[in-house]
Amino acid sequence: MQLIACPWCGPREEVEFSYGGQAHVPYPDSPAELSDEEWAHYVFFRDNTKGRFAERWNHNAGCRRWFNAIRDTTTYRFESVYRLDDPKPVTP
């Protein structure tokens, strides 16, 4: 079981968090103007990166705050966590 560093509460066990999938996928400005295919990509399609992945987590057993993380999906290791208002860290 991993430790995940909540940006506010600090390191907590994985079980305190819920997973939110790929980060930085904003809700479209005007869905009405999207084609069915563009809309489907927002609704159903997410990256499934093998390696470094920017994703969303929620500390729902703690402060209930959402945050982002860069995690390696092959080692599961968290490389960084950052708040929603922080920019996505540049990873080599």
Binding site: M1, Q2, L3, S18, G20, P26, Y27, S30, P31, A32, L34, D36, W39, A40, Y42, V43, F44, R56, N58, N60, R64, R65, W66, T75, Y76, R77, L84, D85
Partner: protein, 956 residues
């Protein structure tokens, strides 16, 4: 009762106390401190079982968890399948027998307790041998928070098996002093009988403590039998030692054939002579200690057979002084004997060639092919193993972040080396944690070890027996041989994983502790490639088997999953309610009176609500307080309908969809103020909807000035339902004008009861005149009682979820999750009226425009009336086209949809149902068929609102 093979003195057993145990029906004795294996050997018993495939006699071949031979079934004190005699501590009254094949589970529940404990340390040391103790002392002396866990019953590791000396005294004196020092350190947790069985990310190690097994029947019941320690360590030092490796030769599986180091353990730790006449077969120096110790203990050592051309000149001298014959450049090619080895066949061995063999009589054949570091925890933590040609073993590669390996687990095989390495590793760990090491951190003085002669890596002795490797056992527990590996390779297999699966090597109880590396070595030989390229199969947790119940811990019975109850639960129980599980909630389903079944109770409850007055505990409904200047904006974006236009004091029903446009929840919304709403959700949807709101507010619309707070348990909710509800509410809350004019449908009012704030809302989930009463749960019982008293003249009747469902279904109100399944849109539910045309966007809106959402053949919610006015259609029944001949055609039969809700209606005096039907609204008036137990039930498709369609009753 005599134990002929017990030494007159010595060992770590309590000779003053005798315990009785039964093996294979035979009553035997041993001492506290014995294992079942040592006690059996003390009684001269080597054979434990017969082998699984070939039925060959098998005995104790090692002294701990690496033993491939001694599998037993425990019968008393409580049946437990498949344990190793070598790891079962002897207790009075223990009953066991050998196990060739399958273990047996008890047929009664296990009443023992199991639990888990979280523990946090700076440094976790696994293994209390010399390296581990040194590491633990170093960490403890620095003031670090330390845990030391060791799988044996006492600390010392390899020192328990030998005669080593430290500081000019028996090494065990130093061990005792070290244990005492650790015990005196407040920040140290020292656990024996505790096996670290898994290592995971971020310094997380799981260890199983066997707390009471050694006490046998005397184990206290209030203490957990076994405990899983969930240890979170900033640094881990793995000092798990090494397993001795056998050499494979023909008939290498007979009872009496044992690892050399195990014989020393049985002698020194348990005071047991594993035999009278021994032959020792080795490829390295370590086995000479066994030969010499056994000799001193009175065992006739017939010969030391050393596969190395020159053997070990120095150890040869030791042996000659003791009068032990040493045959260098020789190997054991086979054995004789059936239930016990009687002869070792010894032959000269040079350049891989085996000469003619001669038989040497013996009742004990000790084998040492070198040592395999116990790298399991390192490997589980994804450490990369490196093959060491000199050791003929896989050893840890690079240290991992926060995990290092020390002592013989790291390939360090001499005592002073292990002590120094343990200290070094611990200091490195402390440095990494910025914990300054103590100034005083002395290691005991150990005699400088003589440099051993280089070991020979020998996996197997060429089979000259004619059996072609078919009796040269690699995995004794699977009866898998060199011949099997050869077949696998011959079949074209190249991967060690394939070889393992083909031969089943390493899949048995010991998970290949002795056979794994042998298989890699032999496979590499047969393929003519380096062992490094063959690699090992993956090490998987657990290191040793763990009982299911130990992992279940205390999450059993009533603690398996939380039971959520309302403030009225005790009242419901007293009233004889039959409960229903709704998520984690316990909700009254109905309140049967004496002699009533559910059908009768529900008809009675429904009639009361439709003709008099009923009352429900609706407290499990989710409630969310939404506050802030932009509260209305948020709700407009999340509900399909418009909430911003709702007036303060009013209530509106709303539907929520996912981005895919499918309904996820519904409920009523009370506008408490311009900037404040009370949102009600379904019981099951409460947490989901709050999370849903938070997710949107935090991740998409942080600019919105709005806050969402769960108040589900802040308010109990009692719908008072029926034509007489006004009388009841009027009586209990005299200062509220309950007339339609003053208090119209879909509005709410605040009042007080004896100074306690109460909120009343004209919300109806039944179509009847109804008032929902909201109050702080502290006063739940008092208010409930007041309502019952006031309702008594009108026969007020508490009703449960079943009646609630009937009443709402008669009105065509869907239950999200029952009448919907995640594939249903508001339009499918006939709720286009609840989908705003005004709002430019809301969550899910765009999906309504997709091709499939426009499909006229989508399933739509309709009512069904069985034509026979008798049949209550089972919920879940499928619906097919009307079949004139009343016969089902052969499958596949096209389905139109299914029954989502179905009840007997007191009001309609007939059964009815709600269903999702393809193009259902177009079919209203048609008759379709519902297959039921081989017959076809004709049902009429109707609108979904069957009672009071014009809504005349809601105002009473």
């Amino acid at each position: 009762m005599s134990t002929p093979f017990r030494t007159p003195s010595g060992g770590r057993i309590d000779r003053a106390t005798t315990v009785e145990f039964t093996f294979e029906g035979q009553t035997l004795t041993g001492h506290p401190g014995d294992t079942l294996a040592s006690a059996l050997l003390a009684n001269g018993r080597h054979q434990v079982a017969t082998s699984i495939k070939l039925g060959r006699p098998r005995g104790i071949a090692a002294a701990w968890a690496e033993d491939p031979g001694g599998l037993v079934q425990i019968e008393e004190p409580f049946p437990e399948p498949m344990l190793l005699a070598s790891t079962v501590e002897l207790s009075d009254g223990l009953v066991a027998h050998g196990l060739p094949g399958q273990g047996r589970l008890a047929d009664v529940p296990d009443s023992a307790r199991y639990d888990a404990v979280h523990h946090h340390v700076d440094v976790l040391v696994v293994g209390a041998g010399p390296a581990g103790l040194a590491a633990a002392l170093t960490a403890a002396r620095a003031g670090a928070r330390v845990a030391l866990v060791d799988e044996q019953s006492e600390a010392g590791g390899s020192l328990l098996s030998g005669t080593e000396r430290l500081d000019d005294a028996p090494a065990l004196q130093w061990v005792a002093a070290a244990v005492a020092e650790l015990a005196a350190s407040p920040e140290v947790l020292h656990l024996q009988r505790t096996t670290a069985f898994g290592s995971y990310d971020d310094g997380f190690v799981l260890a199983l403590e066997r707390r009471t097994d050694h006490l046998g029947a005397a184990a206290p019941k209030h203490v957990s039998r076994q405990r899983v320690w969930r240890i979170r360590a900033r640094a881990i030092v793995v000092a798990t030692g090494a397993h001795e490796r056998p050499v494979v030769f023909a008939d290498n599986d007979r009872p009496g054939i044992m690892l050399a180091g195990a014989a020393r353990t049985f002698l020194h730790r348990y005071g047991v002579l594993p035999g009278r006449d021994a032959v020792v077969f080795t490829t390295n120096d370590s086995a000479y200690d066994a030969a010499l110790d056994l000799h001193r203990a009175g065992v006739q050592v017939q010969a030391v057979v050393d596969a190395r051309p020159e053997g070990s000149p120095r150890r040869r001298e030791d042996c000659e002084l003791a009068g032990i014959r040493v045959l260098s450049g020789a190997v054991v090619t086979g054995t004789q004997g059936v239930e016990r080895v009687t002869h070792a066949l010894v032959a000269p061995f040079a350049d891989g060639e085996v000469g003619a063999s001669t038989a040497i009589g013996c009742d004990l054949l000790l084998v040492s092919g070198g040592w395999n570091p116990a790298v399991h925890l390192y490997s589980q933590a994804r450490g990369r193993l490196r093959y060491d040609d000199a050791l003929g073993a896989f050893v840890p590669g690079e240290d991992l972040d926060g995990l290092s390996v020390t002592g013989s687990a790291a390939g360090v095989l001499d005592l002073p080396g292990c002590l120094a390495d343990g200290q070094r590793r611990a200091r490195a760990a402390l440095t990494a944690l910025a914990i300054p090491p103590a100034g005083e951190d002395r290691l005991p003085a150990a005699p400088e070890p003589a440099v051993p002669a280089a070991p020979l890596v020998l996996w197997r002795v060429p089979d000259t027996s004619g059996a072609d490797g078919s009796t040269s056992f690699v995995d004794l527990q699977r009866d898998a041989t060199v011949a099997d590996i050869a077949r696998a390779v011959g079949a074209g297999l190249r991967s060690i994983e394939h070889v393992k699966r083909y031969t089943t090597i390493g899949t048995a109880h010991d998970q290949g502790k002795t056979s794994g590396v042998l298989t890699s070595g032999i496979t590499a030989e047969l393929l003519g490639i380096p062992v490094q390229d063959t690699g090992t199969t993956t090490f998987r947790p657990p290191y040793t088997p763990v009982a299911f119940a130990a992992l279940a811990g205390r999450d059993r019975g009533r603690l398996f999953d939380p039971e959520r109850v309302t403030a009225l639960h005790e009242w419901h129980v007293a009233a004889g309610a039959v409960f229903e599980d709704v998520g984690q909630w316990k909700r009254p389903r109905h309140y049967p009176q004496p002699g009533e079944d559910m059908a009768a109770a529900v008809l009675r409850e429904c009639a009361a609500a439709r003709t008099g007055v009923g009352i429900l505990d609706g407290s499990t409904l989710g409630k969310i307080d939404v506050q802030g200047a932009d509260a209305a904006v948020l709700l407009d974006r999340l509900y399909t309908n418009l909430m911003s236009s709702l007036k303060v004091g009013s209530v509106r029903y709303g539907v929520m969809c996912g981005v895919d446009g499918m309904v996820i929840d519904d409920g009523t919304v009370l506008r408490l103020a311009e900037d404040r709403f009370l949102v009600l959700t379904t019981t099951g949807g409460a947490a989901k909807v709050l999370d849903w709101m938070e997710e949107w507010v935090q991740t998409e619309w942080p600019d919105l000035r709005v806050h969402c707070t769960s108040v589900t348990e802040q308010w109990v909710t009692f719908p008072v339902v029926g034509p007489r509800s006004r009388d009841v509410i009027g009586a209990v809350f005299p200062d509220v004008d309950v007339t339609n004019e003053a208090f119209p449908f879909m509005t709410w009012r605040d009042t007080t009861l004896d100074g306690v704030p109460v909120r009343l809302a004209r919300i109806s989930f039944s179509g009847e005149l109804a008032y929902e009463v909201y109050v702080n749960p502290w006063y739940a019982i008092a208010v409930w009682q007041r309502l019952l008293e006031a309702g008594r003249p009108y026969g007020i009747t508490p009703y449960g979820t079943e009646t609630m469902h009937v009443l709402r279904a008669e009105k065509g109100y869907p239950i999200i999750g029952q009448d919907t399944d995640g594939t249903v849109s508001p339009h499918d539910l006939g709720m286009a009226w609840a989908v705003s045309k005004k709002k430019p966007d809301f969550v899910g809106k765009r999906s309504f425009a997709r091709v499939e959402n426009q499909n006229p053949l989508r399933k739509q919610l309709v009512g069904l009336l069985p034509v026979d006015r008798e049949t209550v259609l089972p919920e879940g029944s499928q619906i097919v086209e009307f079949l004139a001949d009343g016969q089902l055609p052969p499958p596949p039969v096209p389905m139109l949809g299914h029954v989502t809700s179905s009840y007997r209606s007191a009001e309609l005096a007939r059964p009815f149902a709600l269903a999702l039907v393809r193009g259902g609204r177009e079919r209203i008036g048609e008759t379709v068929h519902v297959p039921l137990n081989g017959t076809l039930v004709p049902v009429e498709v109707t609108g979904s609102v069957l009672v009071d369609p014009e809504g005349a009753r809601r105002d009473g």
